[in-house]
Symmetry: C6
Subunit: 192 residues, 6 copies
Amino acid sequence: GPSHAKTKYETNNVTGVVTGLAWTRVGGDILFVECSTNKGKGKLTLTGNLGDVMKESAVIALEYIKANAHHISLEDTDFENLDFHIHVPEGATPKDGPSAGVTMLTALASKLTGRKVKKYLAMTGEITLRGQVLPVGGIKEKILAAKRANIKEIILSEKNQKDVEDINPKYLEGLKFHYVKEMIEVLDIALV
Amino acid sequence: GPSHAKTKYETNNVTGVVTGLAWTRVGGDILFVECSTNKGKGKLTLTGNLGDVMKESAVIALEYIKANAHHISLEDTDFENLDFHIHVPEGATPKDGPSAGVTMLTALASKLTGRKVKKYLAMTGEITLRGQVLPVGGIKEKILAAKRANIKEIILSEKNQKDVEDINPKYLEGLKFHYVKEMIEVLDIALV
Amino acid sequence: GPSHAKTKYETNNVTGVVTGLAWTRVGGDILFVECSTNKGKGKLTLTGNLGDVMKESAVIALEYIKANAHHISLEDTDFENLDFHIHVPEGATPKDGPSAGVTMLTALASKLTGRKVKKYLAMTGEITLRGQVLPVGGIKEKILAAKRANIKEIILSEKNQKDVEDINPKYLEGLKFHYVKEMIEVLDIALV
Amino acid sequence: GPSHAKTKYETNNVTGVVTGLAWTRVGGDILFVECSTNKGKGKLTLTGNLGDVMKESAVIALEYIKANAHHISLEDTDFENLDFHIHVPEGATPKDGPSAGVTMLTALASKLTGRKVKKYLAMTGEITLRGQVLPVGGIKEKILAAKRANIKEIILSEKNQKDVEDINPKYLEGLKFHYVKEMIEVLDIALV
Amino acid sequence: GPSHAKTKYETNNVTGVVTGLAWTRVGGDILFVECSTNKGKGKLTLTGNLGDVMKESAVIALEYIKANAHHISLEDTDFENLDFHIHVPEGATPKDGPSAGVTMLTALASKLTGRKVKKYLAMTGEITLRGQVLPVGGIKEKILAAKRANIKEIILSEKNQKDVEDINPKYLEGLKFHYVKEMIEVLDIALV
Amino acid sequence: GPSHAKTKYETNNVTGVVTGLAWTRVGGDILFVECSTNKGKGKLTLTGNLGDVMKESAVIALEYIKANAHHISLEDTDFENLDFHIHVPEGATPKDGPSAGVTMLTALASKLTGRKVKKYLAMTGEITLRGQVLPVGGIKEKILAAKRANIKEIILSEKNQKDVEDINPKYLEGLKFHYVKEMIEVLDIALV
Ligand SMILES: [Ca+2]
Ligand SMILES: [Ca+2]
Ligand SMILES: [Ca+2]
Ligand SMILES: [Ca+2]
Ligand SMILES: [Ca+2]
Ligand SMILES: [Ca+2]
Ligand SMILES: [Ca+2]
Ligand SMILES: [Ca+2]
Ligand SMILES: [Ca+2]
Ligand SMILES: [Ca+2]
Ligand SMILES: [Ca+2]
Ligand SMILES: [Ca+2]
């Protein structure tokens, strides 16, 4: 069935779409976080069969962007008159955990700023309200999945660097890693 | 009882009604997605004993139409002052999964544009917020059900083409397939 | 106890009250659907220990009436400033399933148009948003219950005609059947 | 503990308090339904550890009073700017079932009209939206409890008359029964 | 751990704090009910790990105070523009039952009138919407806990007097009891 | 995996971030409470996989600050036009209990006053609506975790002093303890 198939990277040649890395019972995979906005009243809609922790990541991402709008040239955005929608295909697969935080943050920021996302880039990391990127689990599986999907660059928390260094280097060939501490660094690297 | 009876195709000679393909424990079947709109406040009502994943498909479909209104000549539609209702008979049968996404999208678009849907056409496919049509499961069972119900044309994700090619050709006689990548292609084919 | 007693038909000499047919573990029975309206904000209240599928029938009925108001001379009704209440006695008995759809539709239409319902008439059938009447189960048990309760005429989906023809004719004596395809036919027959 | 103690009748020398009859696992008992109103927005608050069916009775009672305000001289009541609260002591005891319907109706009507309730009167019966009083169970246990509590008159559905006639007359001494068909009869008997 | 420690009475030298008596699996204890108000829209917030029945007591207390504002010199209070918060420490201990009703009533009334609560006073009793104080369970355990906590006076329902008289008098030395019938008596005794 | 890793203290060189002490099945740990505010309507959003009791602590903290705004120079803050967000990383770890009360209070107060929090300071304690700091459990485990994380000062309830005195002094070297009774003392010590 389609629900266990490994996803292939596709050029996200639009704003609001970012490639994340997931770690499930059947191994690592890439996933896409999609964001759209419409005229509205500040409502955040979340779809894609997301668990509570993953939904919280989206809430944190939007809250951070609102509180730090001036850092990403969004100080003139009228957040109260927009609705936000974040979707993570594929709907048949339940998804949870905090590791899509950076991906959701980047999708929202891309959509709101109108800036596209760097090609062949994927990311994984928990976010916090004060702007940190925290380490996440399943790094080895996620990296193998990224290679299979033709990813070239990966953004990780600096606290996941030791997990990468434990991996046999032959699996890392052709991959460039960005280790970050702050969420603002993610946006600097990802948005072109 | 009526709940296990196979549904027959009926000419949907009205706007807002689209034929989908379902795959349940008792095999494939066709289903109808019905859409109506009324003066309101942007509320989306979903009936027909739908599971959470299927409800999310409707949310994505409406969100996509709002964000891409100009692509389907709906730029003058006042979405905020309409209520939307999507119903999937039959109420006694629980339904779930993402595969009715294209069907819901087309029902909403048909109702809102006032364009009827091509006769003897059915469809199945997951939709995403950025406009893609993703592959779904149960293709063989769905196609057999479509033939029994007198369907002539079927829209599928291009990624389901391999599933069709695995089917013995004698079961495909008299059926025309449309393989699509984008949601906008579905509307181009389906709305007359 | 009173909860297993079979209900008797009573002249519904008021608007907004319609006789339906129910099929439960303890056999067939008639039931009454009662509707009242008050000045309000468009809210629909449902009581009578109703399951989710039965509640959805009421939502579909109201939505259909709003979208087709001009077909039943309700084009001047200010639906947004009315509250609607549908109750199905008896509260101690849980009720579910889609077969009260036509009964709920007729109760709402009777209350809103001020037209009473034909005497000694009962009905059972699922409704859809586009206006169809779908077949339901338990036809034999429902018909026996209707006879016991002194019902003279019954409205059914045309797709339930075969179920009636399977019944020994001696049980059908004194009963007149109306087989319908569309919801509008139900209202034509039922409202006097 | 206090939760199994039998309640004694107390003169309800205020408006909005009505004596009902309950039937639980530990036998019959009387209960009080208390109603208060405050300036508000039409909200109905229900307390006293009430189950869903019992809550529905309160909703039906209020809806009936609103729709029939002119029958009980409440046509000038501004229901939309009042909040309603119905409480059934004792909070430690879960309560459910439709039989408090007439009691809730009378409590609301007493509070809203300012008319007190006849002394030494109790009642039990399900209500419907069109104004009927339906029979309820546990009649024998309820009557014995009423006698113990010093009740002198009891209102019942006319369809519970047969249940009273099955009781040994010695248990009925000193009790006067009112058998009613319509909810308006209850209010005529109960409100002084 | 702290959750099983017995609480000591502390002078509640502020308005809105009242000492109650609790009865749990590990015996009797005193508890504090704290109330604060802020500018708002009439919302009642309840914290302290409270069960549904205990939450209902707070709803009844507030409703009673609103409906009887003139009896406690609150006729000029603008209830619709205040928010109310009742908290019962300690959050780790689940609490339920109706016996904190009088305590919640007194805390709200103290905060709203600005009158402090008599020192070394505790209370326990269920409240009803019409203003009665009903008896509660665990009287012996509650009284022993009150003594341990240095309480000098206790308010109880007059229907709990028999429970006090069953206790060996040596346990009652130094305690003064107030037996009340009406909620207004509680406020007369408690508010200084 | 990252979820069992012990957290290290990091200089919270921003407002709205406070270090707390947690006690879980796998021992003691430090945690961070992060607070942000945005233009809004008084809504409080809580993320970080928090249980009901921990969420209640945040509600109490905000309520206390609103009711005592003048004590911390916030009398001009327009609470009704702000939204509040409290987050406790790490999202994969469920968290509950009342002991983060002082930490949440301090995070909110720091954000709203713009005052930073003293460096190398951690705290643990339940809060109440009237302003007390109550003792909490797991003191030994929390203190060991604080030392490991390089904490230098700890705020505790005065009722936890005995728990500290039971610990072998060699584990307390280099730690300074602040024993407090009132929430306002916490803010005096913590906000620089
Ligand atoms: Ca995949
Ligand atoms: Ca991920
Ligand atoms: Ca079917
Ligand atoms: Ca389908
Ligand atoms: Ca019946
Ligand atoms: Ca029926
Ligand atoms: Ca009782
Ligand atoms: Ca009763
Ligand atoms: Ca205690
Ligand atoms: Ca108590
Ligand atoms: Ca940690
Ligand atoms: Ca803590």
